[in-house]
Each structure stands twice: as structure tokens, then as C-alpha cells.
């Protein structure tokens, strides 16, 4: 069967390697396309702990949208831990997005709204813990976060592609007197 160094074998391997290169390039392309064709929203976070930057290349972002009142739950059955959900966000013009509803199936947002996918991390008595897989922010070398000494609150620009993928576009310090301190 395998390992005969025939031309066809070599051709197969070349095709396979080319496919892998194209695939990785495709992932990169999806990253560009998400920003180019996606919907842009701003999410606010709690103050960011910068100590971890000393030994890791990322910080953990705690979004204010990571906790939603249980009254926003719109599913047919009660929410369960680890369940995948669709979070409907209200977005104003260039303002921070707020959770309008948490759904267990896909939905079409109205103008001024966006849908971000996420997961239920915990169900509390009166609220839901949510996770968007956007919590880990790999801080670029030129980010203002690298210069900061305090724990600033930030706002995060997220692009949501029409096909559902999402990415962090950039992170800005929240111009907020309590955070600037």
C-alpha cells in the first residue's frame, strides 16, 4: 500500500500540503473578511487585570454583557450550563451594546441590533453567566494596554460576520473619569 516514491505519491503529498497552506490562508482571509463585511459593535468591560501580561501574551476581558438578567431568557426550556445561545444586543450609534435578549435559536436582528453567539457558563437565581469566546485578548505589541500600569476599563470593538464568525477588531481605553484614575 503506502510509501512508494512514485510520481503519483509525490503529487498526492504536494496536493495535500497545498491544501493545508490554502486552508490556513483561508482562516486568515476569514479574519479580514469578518472585519470588511461584518457588523461592528462596541462592548464594555470591567477593569482589566494587567498583571498577567508579565508572563502571558493575553489578558482576560470581563464583559458587562457576560451577565444577563434571567428575565432576558427567551428559550422554550430553562437554560442549561454549556448551552450554546444567541445573544441579541441593542447597539446605538457608536455606543456600547447591551443585552436585549438571550435566545436558544438563531434569529434575525432589527436595525440597531446585532446577534452575537455565546454559551451559558452558569445559571444563577436571577441571572445568567455568558461566555462569548472573546474573553482572551492577545495584546498586540503596540497596544496602549502594554503601557498601562493601572487596571483600566476598556471598550472592545467586535466585528460579527454575516456568516456568524466574530472577532475582536481593536481595544480602546474607556474615556471614563473613574477608569482614567
Amino acid at each position: 500500500m503506502p510509501t512508494r516514491h512514485t510520481p503519483s505519491h509525490r503529487l498526492l503529498l504536494r496536493l495535500l500540503v497545498a491544501a493545508q497552506v490554502l486552508y490556513v490562508l483561508g482562516v486568515a482571509g476569514a479574519g479580514y473578511a469578518t472585519t470588511a463585511y461584518g457588523q461592528h459593535i462596541w462592548l464594555a468591560t470591567a477593569p482589566v487585570e494587567l498583571h498577567s501580561l508579565q508572563y502571558e501574551s493575553f489578558v482576560r476581558l470581563r464583559y458587562t454583557a457576560a451577565e444577563a438578567p434571567l428575565t432576558t431568557w427567551r428559550g422554550a426550556s430553562p437554560p442549561q450550563r454549556r448551552q450554546a445561545v444567541y445573544v441579541l444586543l441593542n447597539t446605538g450609534p457608536d455606543s456600547l451594546a447591551t443585552v436585549a435578549g438571550v435566545y436558544d435559536q438563531t434569529l434575525n436582528p432589527n436595525p440597531g441590533q446585532a446577534v452575537l453567539r455565546g454559551w451559558v457558563t452558569e445559571v444563577y437565581n436571577h441571572s445568567l453567566g455568558l461566555r462569548y469566546n472573546l474573553e482572551r485578548y492577545y495584546v498586540p505589541g503596540d497596544s496602549p494596554l502594554r503601557l498601562g500600569k493601572t487596571s483600566p476599563a476598556v471598550r472592545v470593538r467586535v466585528s460579527i460576520a454575516p456568516w456568524g464568525q466574530a472577532r475582536i477588531e481593536r481595544v480602546e481605553l474607556l474615556q471614563n473619569p473613574t477608569a482614567a484614575r
Binding site: V17, V24, Y32, T34, W119, Y138, Q165
Partner: protein, 427 residues
């Protein structure tokens, strides 16, 4: 044979006249010293160190590198690993060649992960990493290498773990890829190590499925015993048994747990899936397994299924514990009987260990309450002694029969059993 053994023993062979000095030297020349091989490893170790230093330089500055450079580094190392692998394979250095091809596959996965991280991109399904498993399985068909066959099994288990833990979904495609892709590869070229790893990988995914779907843990044994049944159908007995090892160990641990904790109905209550659905599925797998055993002439291993008896449907409490213990004893006895029939020393040891475990469980669970301790030890000791006496007698009578038949000029009634030969069914 080890060179050291030869060096220490061979002078005595020469003095005893078994071999001549010239023959001794020829034998020694046949097994070159290990030191020579170790020297051959030095360039490899050196290149690993150089590679590691390059890796740490890149890793330390990763976030500061411009995006196109990072992408270029990922793709460049990917292509270089594959090209290097092909180069070494063409020069006949199979080990380095396959190692580099495997490295290329690992770099492909790293490329997918690091590129999505580069763009802070979130995926909501498995499709991103699915390509990794697909490429792994395809590569395992292109090369005759054990490590390249093992790699997609490990990658499949890792990707499935990520899927269930981070995305909250179970990918049936990945299970199918590993079971059919790597499974068929094993089926064509059986190998015991590969069989064990394959079974472990599939059981791991089955366990993830049970955990994610919040099913009763007994459902785990439907896919597990399907893996077992696949071993029954394989013509190579050793490879089939290696595939059946992990499911059997899981079933045994489960039966042991039932014997230890089955007394409380609270535990047994967690194990009871809907009767008809579970027994129907288990029965179907059982029928498949029996058909395989019958076709390959291995019905002697049928008592393996004793461990799967659904005793947990019995009311919890003492009846359940006792029933499970009886099953454990019968199973240990069947292993001993089979070991004796085939004359395999390892099986005999295994059977004895299983017997002792069952006895210990019985001691801690039951006898404490009912029997005087000394009486229990007496009974256990007598049981073991009579067992060893019986086995010795069987051995002696078989030996005598063999000698008699050899003397009469006919072939021995029980030929020495090779591991690969199908066993005669239980009389």
C-alpha cells in the same frame, strides 16, 4: 538478544565447547554495540536543540511580529517540514522522514489555531479543526509509519475534547473519521499498539459524548462494546484482543464499582437507562460480537460478556452486590479456564489476579457482616488451594497424554497453541 548478555555469557560457551572462538566473534559482530547507535543520535539531538532555540526566539516575540510575517513563518515551517520529510524519505532515512512529516501535520494544527488567534477570530463549530483530523487520516494512508497512524487518533481525541468542552457540541464527524479512517487503516495492517491506542481514543470520545449529553453512564458501553465486537471480527487474533483490551478493562472496572457501591440504591439508580432501548442496543452489539466470534472460531472468549450483564436493573442493596460478585467470580473462573486451555502463562496470572480481586471485594463488602473473619480466610484459602491443585492435576494429565501420544507415534492431542491460531471452542 542484548549485546551485553552476549558479551558476558559467550566466554563460558566457548570454554564449554558449545561454540568456537571464531563463532563467538562472528556472533558479537552481528550485534553491534549500543554505543555506536547512540553516537548516531547526536546530530538529531543537536538539531532538536537548535530547533527549540529558534522556536523560543519566535515565541517570545510572537505578539510583536507583524501579521504577514507571522503568517509567513507558520506556512514556511509547515512547507519546510513536509519537504524535509520527503527529502529524508527519498534518501532512505525513514525515521527522520516520518518524524518530519508528523511535525508538518502538528504544524498544520498549530497554524489553524495560531491564525485564528492572530485575527482574534471565534469559530462556533468544529469545521476549523476538522480539517486537521482529515489531513491526519489522509497522511496515515500515504505512509507506512506507525507514528503517523497514531497521530490522527490522538488529534481526533484532542479536537473532540476541545469541541465538547469549549463549544458544547459533540462532533459525530470526528468520531466517524477516526473510527472509519484510522480503523480501516488498522484493519488492513493490524498492529497491537495501534489497536490499543485506537480503542482508547474511541472510548475517550464515547466518554465525552456521554458526559456532554447528560446520559446515564451505562450508555458508554454501547459504543465501547462496538469497539470490542470489531475486535471479534478481525482475523488476526492478537490485534483483535489488543483492540478489546480497553473496553474490557472499562467493563471490569464498572462491574467492580457496582460490586463495591451497588448496595446503595442511589448509585444504582443513576445507572438505569430505559430498559427496552438499552437492552435492545446492547443485545444488537452482543449479537454482532457473537457472530464475529463464531466466524473466527473464538467462542471461548464469550464469557467476556458476563461483565456486561445488566445487573443494575436489580433493586439496589444486597441482592445487587451479591449478584455482581457472583458474576465477577464466574468471569475470573472463565479467564482461568481459558488460560489453562490455551496454556498462556500471562492469562493464567491475569485470571488469578481477577480471582483475588473478586475475593477481596467479597471480603470487604459481605463477609465482614456475615461470617467470622477467620472462617472467611479459611474458605478463601481453601478455594485458592483447591484451584491450584486442580490446575496442577490438569497440567500433569495433559503432559502425560502428550507423552503417551508421542510414544505411540501419533501427533500430540493438544498441539502447542500459538497466539495467532484460532482457539478451539469451549467443549
Amino acid at each position: 538478544m542484548s549485546r551485553k548478555f552476549l558479551e558476558t555469557e559467550s566466554p563460558a560457551w566457548v570454554t564449554e565447547g558449545l561454540i568456537t572462538e571464531a563463532q563467538r566473534e562472528r556472533l558479537l559482530a552481528r550485534y553491534p554495540s549500543d554505543a555506536v547507535q547512540a553516537v548516531g543520535l547526536l546530530p538529531l539531538l543537536g538539531s532538536i536543540l537548535v530547533g527549540l532555540s529558534a522556536l523560543s526566539v519566535v515565541a517570545a516575540n510572537w505578539q510583536r511580529l507583524p501579521t504577514p510575517l507571522r503568517l509567513g513563518l507558520l506556512l514556511g515551517s509547515l512547507v519546510a517540514a513536509y519537504a524535509g520529510g520527503e527529502y529524508f524519505l527519498r534518501r532512505g532515512n525513514r525515521r527522520v522522514g516520518h518524524g518530519l512529516i508528523g511535525l508538518g501535520l502538528v504544524l498544520f494544527g498549530a497554524g489553524i489555531i495560531l491564525t485564528s488567534q492572530l485575527y482574534q477570530l471565534v469559530g462556533y463549530d468544529v469545521s476549523g479543526l476538522l480539517a486537521w483530523v482529515v489531513v491526519g487520516v489522509l497522511l496515515s494512508y500515504l505512509y507506512e509509519s506507525q507514528s503517523l497512524i497514531l497521530l490522527p487518533i490522538v488529534i481526533g481525541a484532542a479536537v473532540q475534547t476541545y469541541c465538547t468542552q469549549a463549544l458544547g457540541i459533540f462532533s459525530y464527524t470526528i468520531v466517524a473519521l477516526v473510527a472509519l479512517g484510522s480503523g480501516y487503516r488498522w484493519w488492513r495492517r493490524p498492529d497491537t499498539l495501534l489497536a490499543s491506542v485506537l480503542a482508547l481514543g474511541l472510548l475517550w470520545q464515547a466518554a465525552l459524548w456521554v458526559a456532554l449529553s447528560h446520559s446515564k453512564i451505562t450508555w458508554f458501553f454501547i459504543p465501547a462494546m462496538l469497539v470490542y465486537a470489531a475486535g471479534d471480527w478481525h482475523r488476526d487474533r492478537a490485534a483483535g484482543r489488543a483492540l478489546q483490551g480497553p473496553p474490557l478493562v472499562a467493563a471490569y472496572l464498572f462491574a467492580l464499582g457496582l460490586a463495591l457501591f451497588g448496595e446503595t440504591d442511589q448509585y444504582a439508580g443513576q445507572l438505569r437507562p430505559p430498559v427496552l432501548a438499552y437492552l435492545g442496543a446492547l443485545g444488537a452489539v452482543f449479537a454482532l460480537s457473537v457472530a464475529g466470534k463464531r466466524q473466527q472460531g473464538r467462542l471461548a472468549s464469550l464469557p467476556d460478556w458476563l461483565l456486561l450483564l445488566p445487573g443494575f436493573y436489580l433493586p439496589g442493596g444486597l441482592p445487587l452486590a451479591i449478584a455482581t460478585l457472583v458474576v465477577l467470580y464466574v468471569h475470573a473462573g472463565s479467564v482461568l479456564a481459558r488460560a489453562h486451555r490455551s496454556g498462556e502463562a500471562e492469562q493464567l496470572t491475569l485470571g488469578t489476579v481477577l480471582f483475588i480481586i473478586a475475593t477481596m471485594v467479597a471480603y470487604f463488602k459481605l463477609t465482614w457482616a456475615f461470617l467470622d473473619k477467620s472462617l472467611f480466610f479459611l474458605i478463601g484459602g481453601v478455594l485458592l488451594l483447591s484451584l491450584s491443585w486442580y490446575l496442577r492435576r490438569r497440567n500433569a494429565s495433559r503432559l502425560a497424554a502428550g507423552v503417551a501420544s508421542a510414544a505411540s507415534g501419533s501427533a500430540p492431542t493438544t498441539p502447542p497453541t500459538l497466539p495467532n491460531q484460532p482457539q478451539e471452542p469451549l467443549a
